[in-house]
Symmetry: C2
Subunit: 286 residues, 2 copies
């Protein structure tokens, strides 16, 4: 079962947008015709998390990502002030091509949800696009391995751990992990498959006893939905894209912009080609 | 610490044979100058387990190996009656180039140890060479991960499991596994590294609860030495080359020949090139 068919089963969507190529899906978002979460959309193209910061903080954040590649796999960085990242999509406009944004100020937890960034854009903003877990989850599902949260149409459970990121300037803090549970045999396969998708957080950082990485109660995730482990299943923990969001909050930048959770940037790059092509990332269509 | 330096630490050997290239080491064995176990010898060349059977059983055994690639990774097969396998070594003579052999008859547990096969050779014998765990263990050690049995100069513990091989003709029976214990983080690395060495049994078949694969007491292996787990370590189980030996015993062939445990065939192939070269296996020297 693919992510897409899991979503069908969960009744989340049965619309025609799922058959759209990435540029057409972005156009539908840009024109306000599509507003939903993007899991299962974009026909196997690489999707990413969004982090936009003022140029004054961009150097430190770039080094934070490079130093912490498991939670923060870099798939694109813009020029300061430019809303375009041609390597990720020829006509991509970062201000309009995601289905929802959150604008933060001064490190506050409070944010303003906005449908686009046309009014808040500034000529000193730098956009970072970081990999998300979709492509490794899809590889696991293609291998016939069950993902409980996908089957149930729920969010993956996420936990703040006692593992620490390598800090860079004001950016630092704990590694946040997502958890998926498997039988031992399936866990081995899932570890191997995820390792091949390094732009999607790569191999796990831990499995087994949650207390070893400072998780006191598996039933109470810090983000996402509570898990439902079956007897004999082993929890496996992957570094998660909430890690850079917490690092940004700790850095208290004057302004920071992220995507609405689940409403990712859909790029033109084949997720598989982005991972495995000899020449690095390249558009899916070439 | 490499396998070699671990052997130095254990005081097993400090001789000059360890600096010999594979053809020279085989010549030393052939001439009776070297008789020891081969772990840490042969300068990174692929080593293998030996199984010699009459041609009448060879087809079924070949299919058994192909159907069970984790316990029985095929690295060489001879023509019937020929003691040579040029793909594994230009001057290789399977009758004289291992440091010890065991000759079995009619599936009996009893065997005759012989220093060479010159007197027992027949023109209907087919030689199979199957990968062993040395190259993945060396990769784990190169990554700085401790292998307790290597450090202690002991044999790896091995267990008969409730997992069953895919049978072929008279060949079948349980999967035998070897066990190595690690912290969770090291276990993930060890799983990923071993997966790259598919001629050395590849990724593990299980980790965690031994009872799930029919092992009732980890402290009492069926073969090898008892393990010494540290607190927090997780047992990880790999398919093991004793599996085909048990399958051969079950098949009760008129004659079967194996190597003396630990006294492997040292081939001319670089273990890494054998796994990773685009053109398949090739001599290390070219």
């Amino acid at each position: 079962m693919s992510v897409s068919s899991a979503i069908d089963r969960a009744g989340v969507s049965g619309d025609g947008f799922r058959s759209l190529a990435a540029p057409d899906l972005r156009r539908a978002i840009r024109e306000g015709r599509f507003r939903g979460p993007t899991a299962g959309y974009g026909l196997g193209c690489l999707q990413g998390n969004l982090a936009i910061l003022p140029a004054a903080q961009a150097g430190d954040f770039l080094r934070f990502c490079v130093n912490n590649p498991k939670p923060c796999p870099l798939i694109g960085v813009s020029q300061a002030g430019s809303p375009h990242i041609p390597a990720l999509g020829a006509d991509l406009d970062i201000r309009t091509d995601l289905a929802g944004y959150r604008v933060f100020h001064g490190g506050s937890d409070a944010y303003r949800p906005v449908p686009d960034l046309l009014d808040v854009w500034r000529d000193d903003l730098v956009t970072f696009v970081l990999g998300c877990s979709f492509s490794f989850e899809d590889a696991i599902l293609r291998a016939g391995i069950r993902l409980a949260h996908v089957e149930a149409g729920r969010n993956v459970p996420m936990y703040v751990t006692s593992l620490q990121t390598a800090p860079s300037g004001p950016f630092g803090g704990p590694v946040v992990v997502s958890m998926r549970a498997f039988s031992a045999a399936d866990a081995i396969q899932a570890m191997l498959l995820s390792d091949r998708y390094r732009l999607a957080h790569g191999s796990p950082v831990h499995f087994g006893d949650p207390a070893e990485i400072g998780i006191s109660d598996l039933a109470k995730p810090d983000f996402g939905d509570a898990p439902d482990l079956r007897p004999g299943e082993v929890p496996v923990f992957w570094a998660c894209g909430v890690t850079p969001q917490m690092a940004i909050r700790q850095a208290r930048p004057e302004i920071a912009i992220t995507h609405e959770p689940g409403h990712m940037l859909v790029t033109d790059l084949s997720a598989d080609a982005a991972e495995f092509s000899l020449g690095g990332v390249r558009p899916a269509s070439t």
